[in-house]
Amino acid sequence: MMDFSPAFDLELQLEGFNGPLDLLLHLVRKQKMAISDIAIAPITEQYAEYLKRMEELNLDIAGDYFVMASTLMLMKAKSLIPREKESFEEMREDLIFQLEEYEKIVAQAAELQKLHREAVRSFPRVYKEKIEKAEREFKVGENAIFLLVEHYARVIERRKALRPILIKPKPYTMKDVLSLLFGVFRKRKSTRFSSLTHQRERGFVVYLFVSVLELVREGSLKVTQTDTFSEIILQRRGVFTEEKQQQLIARFE
């Protein structure tokens, strides 16, 4: 079994693996084994133990690790069945080849890193300083102009969304509007809608219109209009008694 003493480097290694082969290579090296001498059964156990520990720590484990785990377990199972010996040897050879190839890749990747670190020690006359990294997504090709327009539209939209909407308190209430209507109809039987809205702002007109509709529904006003957008004539159908006025006002509060 694996040594899980405090000296074990689990903590340090958890984030550090770049895939199942990396983990496997690490386990082989820990055993101070040559890759070609890999012993499948113990490695399978250690590998599974590693995954279990990672799960216990609630670490996200990529599916790739489980694929390798099942391959290893299949190999281990085959190794125990005499008539599967050939198939097992084949799988083991494949794994050894894969690990050896991977070991080369790791070395080559490290070499590339070294070359890169050295190459960036010299600067060109100009280069897109930080933009190169931060604006990676804004990479355009042939359809550059469309993308540009799209991005521009998005910026505008965002600005619009960010712009605060000012809500000014209205200097009048529904009660005020109703009182005005009652005042008008105290003196006369009918009036034109436009005479009430003259020089009034839109909010007031809306309030007035809503009150008129309410009075029509309730039966105390009659409204006529001959054409779309033509003058609206308001006619009183009864007398607005004090009691009735209070009743109507209460309805809007």
């Binding site: 390798m68 890749i105 070359l115 670190r117 050295e118 020690r121 600067f123």
Partner: protein, 173 residues
């Protein structure tokens, strides 16, 4: 050598945004390639003691600041051209660089993972890797190669300059 000819070559290389090849310079100046090569060789020597050196990169030549003065220039520029790539991305890049042309599936198999497509996309966006045709097998998967920019950012003149496994110190079996 005609001093003006050398100076013209110098001007062309300085004005370019990426490495310029001897062929290109020869074509522009309507001069013999050998002559251009000689001018470049002299310029390289001339610039050795300077703050700017002439580098052989990606099949051409480019003026860059001398590596010796990296710390001081960095102080002014705040950032160099370092790529912020993960270990997995470097492995993927190494596979493409050393085994090109190669398919996405081949890379994934070598790394023992199911897919490397997002890493490849990132490397393409960084212009380090490009699609170079399709493999003539079922499904006709795309083949990937490294770009001139890769050579430039890794200080290489050509892919032949990639260090061999013996040079890196891994025993080829």
């Amino acid at each position: 050598m005609d001093g003006d000819f050398k100076a013209t070559v110098e001007a062309l290389i300085f004005a370019a945004d990426s490495p310029v090849s001897v062929e290109k310079i020869a074509k522009i100046l309507e001069a013999d390639m050998e002559l251009v090569r000689a001018a470049v060789a002299e310029l390289t020597t001339d610039y050795v003691p300077r703050g700017i050196n002439l580098f052989e990169l990606a099949g051409g030549y480019r003026f860059l600041t001398s590596r010796r003065f990296y710390p001081m220039v960095l102080k002014m520029k705040d950032t160099d051209r370092s790529l912020s790539l993960s270990q997995a991305a470097f492995e993927t890049l190494a596979i493409v660089a050393y085994r090109q042309p190669v398919t996405s599936q081949e890379i994934a198999a070598m790394r023992g993972v199911q897919s490397v497509s997002s890493i490849l996309r990132n490397l393409q966006t960084l212009e380090l890797v490009r699609i170079a045709g399709r493999k003539d097998v079922i499904g006709r998967p795309m083949l990937y190669r490294t770009t001139p920019k890769f050579l430039e950012l890794f200080g290489l003149y050509s892919l032949d300059e990639l260090p061999s496994l013996e040079e890196i110190g891994v025993n080829e079996l």
